[in-house]
């Protein structure tokens, strides 16, 4: 699966144990793919001394701050960008 810039995505709400690079506060949240950063060895495997291969696509994903924090008082156009690996993303087809 590959995401194009602009694609709406949801971060998987996975409780995968061990080392993960996906911030807990983004799990289950909906955002959009800003760009493909590149492909890199999987840090979840590198963390245990494995090769991390095959390389995984890493995306710059944008989120509305108002979607992330309850009682967020900043402007609605405040965004947060995070680097998220493809295996942590699923297509979001719903509307907001």
């Amino acid at each position: 699966m590959t995401f194009e810039p602009g694609a709406r995505v949801r971060v998987l709400p996975s409780e995968k144990p061990g080392h993960v690079r996906t911030p807990a506060y983004l799990k289950g949240k909906v955002g959009w793919v800003e760009s493909l950063i590149g492909e890199f060895p999987n840090p979840e495997e590198l963390a245990y001394g494995h090769s991390g291969l095959p390389e995984r696509p890493l995306y710059k994903v944008g989120f509305r701050q108002t979607d992330l924090w309850q009682d967020y008082i900043g402007p609605a156009e405040d965004f947060l960008y995070a680097d998220i690996y493809e295996h942590w993303l699923e297509p979001e087809r719903g509307t907001t």
């Binding site: 080392h19 911030p23 807990a24 506060y25 983004l26 840090p43 963390a47 245990y48 001394g49």
Partner: protein, 93 residues
């Protein structure tokens, strides 16, 4: 960690201490020799039971010890013996 509430942020500056420079240098040397990677260090830091009680470089040191023992590069006994030896010298006459 990972977005959990962390309280207020200490924005004060402090001098880097010698042992902190050494901790950084050891990490760099182990990385150059392929004995430890950033991803492994992060994983080991996250799994420290006393994570919240330790300072930044104390976490590095504790996690490095954990990794080197895990990989069989050093044993806990070797580290403890060497630590005791240095403490004796430190307390010296």
């Amino acid at each position: 960690m990972g977005g959990s509430p962390g309280g207020s942020i200490d924005k004060g500056q402090h001098e880097v201490e010698d042992w902190e420079r050494l901790a950084d240098a050891i990490n760099g040397a182990l990385g150059a020799k392929g004995l430890q990677s950033t991803d492994e260090l992060r994983r080991a830091i996250e799994s420290l039971e006393n994570y919240r009680d330790l300072s930044y470089y104390e976490r590095w040191v504790a996690a490095t010890e954990k990794l080197l023992v895990e990989k069989g590069v050093l044993s806990s006994d070797e580290i403890d013996e060497r630590t005791a030896e240095i403490e004796r010298r430190w307390d010296g006459p």
